[in-house]
Symmetry: D2
Subunit: 363 residues, 4 copies
């Protein structure tokens, strides 16, 4: 599937960082879903570089919906959203076209595409392409919300600073939806931003952990084995550049627990079935159990840094030194958060459309 | 895809724990791959319950290849491997058919399948189905080995005991291939097995972390975005019952590093391009960089335990108490290891077949 | 997908004519669909060689449901149906293993599988594999019938003899469901059977045209462009060995009509919308319009014949002569009819499950 | 897959007739394939309305390649080609928005999309979308040609006039590649065009049969059962608006032949294996046999005609009369020919990429 993902609702990505545009085609959305361009703009703004803690490349992200929306509603046919690239400085990249930024895709892209890849700014491997994912989120997240399903992601940790965990899921998700820098605890947020600026001043970068919660999903969603909810969400998340780990519920900690402490006991609570803990992250046997779906993604420090690094010229096969010029982010965790929300929305919308049929999302 | 996985090489699973049999259909394997039933038997033996550290359910795993193999070689057409269920004690499960084992799939299966699921021993959600995956591994892992690609998984930690990490990948993988209890450090293995027996005696269970390495893969394999190597491997791994987290390279730790320490600097070494560290786990931008692919999976403690737990009867919607009778494993990490190897082999074989064409694996 | 077909309901085939067994895995069927083994037996009987007008190879078709059915109902998980091969005479084929039966798959299989294919009786390319499709039909066709959807196929022509067309679709489909030799006009049927026996006596074979109708489907089913109803049905039909053409509604004749005569005018009839003619075969723009879906498949004369034919030995690359011994059908049109019904049912069930959701077929 | 098609090479379509643009995303093409915009323009010109025998809607088809091409070569990443709609007269359609053109998709689209579809000019069901397919053909057909594979389609019949069949495939395909009105016999072409003008003058329309040949493909391509070459080609063809039948080789006529006359005898000819006839259309058992692939598609008369027709208003559920205004084609067979070529190229490129690996097409 390469650049396409999803079963009944699919997204197909295209574009390069310094090409003509980036964009996506969303297929399989029900007809009759309201499309509000303000939502899309608001989502794109959450991904956009913001001030001193981001790259200075500034994109207006003036998107254009080429198809699939008519009179303010989805038609049910493919929606192409195209986002032209504007603030391009391709010259930044020409001198270093054959130098492999350590831990970036320059070298692997060259191996895969035999020298034909667009090397400027990471080309098709650039985080820039996630703008298209976020634009799709601008349609799907509000649609899910109308069906009672909410998604929220906060920066669980960044530069060694920890945010508090989710407590009241509903209120916390609501809170996050309005934040540019998504933390539940403001003071943690300030400390994180200081760490980011510090990294920037060091010509270096830092990473973080994102924690996501989804509420409002019935028990019984998902498919056994290869379409487990964890399989689908992780598949989507590992397509986001820089994500190197994912865990659900108690995650890696569960490996050190015993069955009797790790197991989420069920109980009947006012007639509805709940679990008293949520170490399983809302998923048993790959299927939702009605509790919040909770997962965390590890975001690596941005590989492109201003500091000098040893590397190679893969054209001449020689060792060399690289200090990235260009414009780059000292941290992408805060920008990646809305990408994670949007991809999660695509997975959830697809799963529920499979369960309830093609028209469900608009009903 | 539900019970099928893969693009050019696909595996389709079927079966229930206490039904007639479990099995799989493998499609897309090149013709002319040697099939040695001893290999399959040897792999199945590694998954089979072993002595005091496993369930007392004992399956001979006498499989039958129904199709796709002729005169000892793959024909290129679908291979169905069927493994009859033998040591079934269905009566164990009837009394508790409507009681949800905490953190098991009983409740979610009932929500999804509206009461029609085969509830005996976890039905289609049972780890028993992984025998079919392992049988497929018995064909594909030796085929990859003939192409110079080796896969090995060890128990990185279990019950709080840590194994040493990989040092000499080639030798370590070779070592693991002959071990029933896959650890690189024997004394760690003994300590782990004591922890497992201790858990068993407590009518409880423990989990662990599995670490996997793949060597011999060229740089440039994998696809951008949704078919990133991480996406495909994680998709496969989260289909294995009990896995709740996965991380590549430095994994979650990378979130606390800086770019300058996390980045894997490239260098030319005797004419070939390597990285000096491997925090990326052999993957940059979703594409292999020629270094070992390294990932770790968190395996939860087996949810079925003998201890009393609070739960519900989902037919009567009443709170109740459950102490699982039946037969169950105090730990599944050591048995899951060959499942992880086998699924990894399927992903790798599929990726390389996509790159090199349908006949590659037998050439 | 090779040996798998379908989006939300999929069938995966395996097996060779003279191997251990043939079978299929059906995934995605709703839980709670009644499974009556009598239905499956009855369907398999319609495909089985019958008397003088068929091959003398006689299979009991004693199938075994390995998974996915519990207490008489589908569980919602994959159903594996295995049908052992019994009346095998492999020796018939060994002498001619390298002789290419003209218009059969012997030569192309050898090219594709480099000599590793199971050559006995056509191996994986044998019509024998369609028994698995028919067994699946034995579950799905009755399920569709419970939802008001009926499928029927008759032999429109065979050996130059024409059957009458559908007139009262409901009654005609009902009539066909009980016939071994599926014609609407008995006398045409007798004449066809004479032609078949005549061909047999000539050590030759004949073909025919099958016409299929599906009633009870709402308007608005199917997907635009690549999942048009015609695309999906034709994709399925051309997997049946021997089918070389398909046409919908007026089919090839429509090419000679004018728009004003070919167009199906709409009218409101007792409040419901119908068309006065059905030259479109119930499909406009790839989507159902509520009229019967009607299509015809051209079935070639069986390529395996007793007459001497020029051919080659593809091992020695020499010209030679072949007069097929073995056992073969003088015509397969009458046996293919239930295969066409069954594949049609799979396509329809998949399309409607996509529209109405995973649980629809059992509701 | 709805608007996507293909396994290793995929095309995804988007757009509406009177929306902002139509276009496609092509994924999986090898890196390093030359992209000549002149080729694309030349192909689009073959599809464009031409003079008196076509609609008077005139589109410049000024396309824009948004991604996936760099310095004149494919990069290996998705290629988005966007073709803005220009000569739109949406007002033509508003008055008749709720009137179902007989045999067009107006009514079925309304049933499927619940009134949210873009009704102008057929919306997403318009033949206009095929411009995107043809643009893709402008890259893939020349790439196949460089690998020795040629595709050609001629108008086998139109308005009752017959063109001669293929004789020298290579020369005939070469001849067709330069023709606007693709016939092998010029005088037949003139007669056909007279029939088209006659239909136009009658406010009516006519159809035709297209015959396609593909040469240069090795024996052994394609997959068994559901990815038979016939399955894939027919799946693609039935997505083209107006195609109602397809047949391979002798097609429907084969149903009236005997095995001994229908079978294509093999012979060794100067060391290479050929068949003396080609009633199988180059395909045995779904796999290529090295002979030309030959198939014919029945194209219906354009459903939109100026003549008065009975129909319904599907909003008011009333009978009414419609005489289409707008601009429409008296015949689309001649314009569809390059669409058929392009789709065929996509299927063939995908099949051979599966066989030979991702990089094959550029090697």
């Amino acid at each position: 599937m390469k650049n396409s993902f999803g079963n009944n609702i699919t997204i197909t990505l295209y574009g390069e960082s310094h090409g003509s545009s980036v964009g996506c085609v969303i297929d399989g959305l029900a007809s009759g879903i309201p499309v509000d361009e303000n939502n899309i703009n608001q989502f794109l703004a959450l991904r956009r570089p913001n001030g001193t803690i981001s790259t200075s490349r500034c994109e207006a992200d003036e998107f254009s919906i080429k198809s699939g929306v008519f009179n303010g509603y989805t038609t049910g046919t493919p929606i192409c959203i195209d986002i032209p690239n504007e603030d391009k400085r391709s010259a930044d990249y020409e001198k270093t076209a054959n130098l492999a930024r350590p831990s970036h895709a320059d070298y692997t892209a060259n191996c895969k595409y035999n020298g034909y890849q667009d090397y400027r700014g990471g080309g098709h491997f650039s985080g820039r392409i996630t703008a298209a994912i976020v634009a799709a989120g601008g349609i799907i997240i509000p649609a899910l919300k109308r069906k009672g399903i909410s998604i929220g992601t906060h920066i669980k940790s960044c530069g060694g600073v920890e945010d508090r965990g989710f407590s009241d899921y509903k209120a916390d998700i609501e809170l996050l939806s309005n934040l540019n820098f998504a933390v539940l605890d403001n003071s943690a947020g300030s400390a994180m931003q200081e760490k980011i600026i510090e990294a920037k001043n060091n010509l270096d970068s830092i990473g973080g952990v994102l924690e996501t919660a989804v509420i409002g999903i019935d028990a019984g969603m998902g498919e056994p084995w290869f379409d487990s909810v964890e399989s689908l969400i992780s598949h989507a998340m590992f397509s986001v550049p820089g994500i190197k780990g994912i865990e659900f519920g108690a995650g890696f900690e569960i490996a050190n627990m015993t069955g009797s402490t790790a197991n989420d006991e069920f109980s009947v609570n006012n007639g509805s079935i709940v679990t008293n803990t949520n170490n399983s992250g809302g998923i048993n046997g790959g299927i939702t159990n009605g509790m919040p779906i909770v997962f965390r993604c590890a975001v690596r420090p941005t590989p492109t840094i201003g500091k000098e690094q040893k590397t190679i010229n893969f054209k001449t096969n020689e060792n060399t030194i690289l200090a990235a010029k260009g414009r780059h982010d000292p941290c992408i965790a805060h920008r990646a958060r809305i990408v994670v929300d949007s991809l999660t929305a695509i997975v959830i919308a697809d799963l529920l459309t499979t369960k309830y049929g093609t028209d469900w999302l608009a009903k």
